[in-house]
Symmetry: C2
Subunit: 330 residues, 2 copies
């Protein structure tokens, strides 16, 4: 099943989207918003799936053309966004570039930070930021949306709590990160709003490409229409989403609609390219002694998409332009 939220009010308007992303249908009478559906999943799931089947068979009278540009994030605002950093070879690479060893525990104890969840960008929304000199970067990731997760569950117990998957662009301000992390409290100003793919899908949509809590498709990232990277999201993912959820729930329950991110998708094989500029710069530094690819400039456009084995886009594309923020209206 594929779900999206059309832009409307603060929480969007839930629609069911056909498998080929061509048609959509309002979920009226089932749940007004995706958050409402997640809050009452057991009561809503069957009806949503029935509507999805009718839509795919062309039997939905109220269907209309699906337009990703009219989409908000599947959850335009959420109660929790916890972003892991599950591709540990990526962390190792970045640390190597600055001459730092990586603690061995990083292979067994996931990194995770609490991100801002009160406002996600829609898939085609501009990234509006005040200052190019902040070192604006994208990060292509996979994320899951959970149902209610009890405190203290194991990775094995986590699987049935995964409701949906989507892609995210975790925008990062690289030049603000060193000073912010040096303060010791983690990211805050250096992590502005994150964008989400138009569509979130249930795990069964991925068939055999979803196993061990990992998505085994390539994440294709374009910068200004040029291929930037297309690593396979399952290969070098040290921690599956089941393990990330178990990590997150050690000392807290997770409310329905919690979003858990994979961290920047990355492969050891550098021929796969990168899903963020920072990784490419790191490889340039290691290979040539200098990072030559600049961070994003106003006007740049980043696109992220994942395709199934038939070449069909699974989640639709994140496709965003970086624009200058002109300050608060006064």
């Amino acid at each position: 099943m594929k779900l999206a939220s059309l832009k409307e009010g603060r929480d969007g308007r839930l629609v069911v989207v056909s498998r080929d992303l061509q048609q959509a249908c309002h979920a009226e009478g089932i749940a007004p918003t995706l958050q409402a559906a997640l809050d009452h999943w057991d009561e809503c799931e069957r009806a949503l799936r029935a509507l999805y089947q009718r839509l795919n068979r062309g039997e939905c009278n109220m269907a209309f053309a699906f337009a990703p540009g009219s989409c908000a994030a599947p959850l335009p605002r959420a109660y929790q966004w916890a972003d892991g950093s599950a591709y540990v070879s990526h962390i190792e690479l970045v640390r190597k570039a600055r001459g730092a060893d990586m603690p061995p525990a990083f292979w067994t104890d996931p990194l995770m930070y609490q991100g801002m969840s009160d406002g996600f960008l829609g898939p085609c929304d501009d990234i509006a930021l005040a200052n190019e000199s902040w070192g604006i970067d994208f990060e292509g990731e996979v994320a899951v949306i959970t149902g209610d997760v009890p405190m203290g569950i194991t990775a094995e117990q986590a699987h049935p709590h995964i409701r949906l998957l989507m892609l995210v662009n975790d925008v990062s301000l690289r030049n603000l990160i060193p000073a912010e992390l040096a303060k010791g409290f983690g990211f805050f100003q250096s992590k502005p709003a994150t964008a989400c793919s138009p569509v979130a899908v249930t795990p069964d949509e991925l068939g055999t490409y979803w196993h061990h809590g990992r998505v085994h498709h390539r994440l294709r990232v374009l910068l200004n229409h040029q291929l930037f990277g297309e690593p396979e999201a399952g290969v070098d993912m040290t921690f599956g989403f089941d393990q990330l959820i178990a990590h997150a729930s050690l000392s807290r329950r997770l409310g329905a609609g919690t979003i858990i991110g994979s961290g920047t998708v990355s492969n050891r094989d550098e021929h796969s390219g990168a899903c963020c500029i920072a990784e490419r710069r790191t490889r340039e530094l290691l290979n040539t002694g200098a990072a030559s690819t600049p961070f994003m400039r106003f006007g740049d456009r980043v696109r992220m998409e994942m395709f199934d084995e038939q070449g069909q886009s699974i989640f639709g594309a994140i496709d965003q332009q970086l624009v200058p923020y002109r300050g608060p209206a006064t």
Copy 2:
């Protein structure tokens, strides 16, 4: 105006509470939940204030006795919880105890972390955690709830966006913090669910005790019915809430219902006592060479309250017992 949320569903049921905290009245017909009121503040505020005035005059037919024990947090789940650490002399003290100098920038650039907001504890809810050895501590804080805040505002521009104030108990797992912060991504597992006072109040309720973005009353903290501390919350607060909001909004807008915390209230004057065990232990270490006060043990009870100049409780009391969490139901 004083507002609370009775336990009901995921978001509670909004009630207006009388100034003396004796009576309450449902806000039906105005807004079903506090989040809904914050989402539509301009449309709701006048009607809520009118109801509050009738309630205070004893003219509200539907009034009933207000029972803090039936309260959820004012926002049982919120879209953002950003906790500052605005009492810099507290940070300086803690660092001094471990022989670390404090960077001078800490006096001008606030520390802030993104906390979990998907589930706040009600004022009288048990703190249920699995492991006493985590070093379970309380932190008494003041917090504000904002309306919609544009990105990039100044501290001066922040003031009108402060809708409500409340108290919070930012539960912290001291023995998990060092390893977690050493990983570089900030707090996650070491910051379980935070509790809130029964009532959130508009700034005008504080009269002249609210100025320069600071609350000039003492926060009284009891551990097992013994006075633990009662520092004045305004005195040594290096950054006012206006400055904390400006810091938070540098690279993001803040959605309505964002909660911004002060960090543990602390005075330089050690006769004021402490609002967390860690601070008392730090002073013990500096004064005697050893920390003697243990962290919380199962069965311990912590109470936090703030009184006005007439001795009236402003926000009601946070009053919680620490109990063992027995693991997820299977």
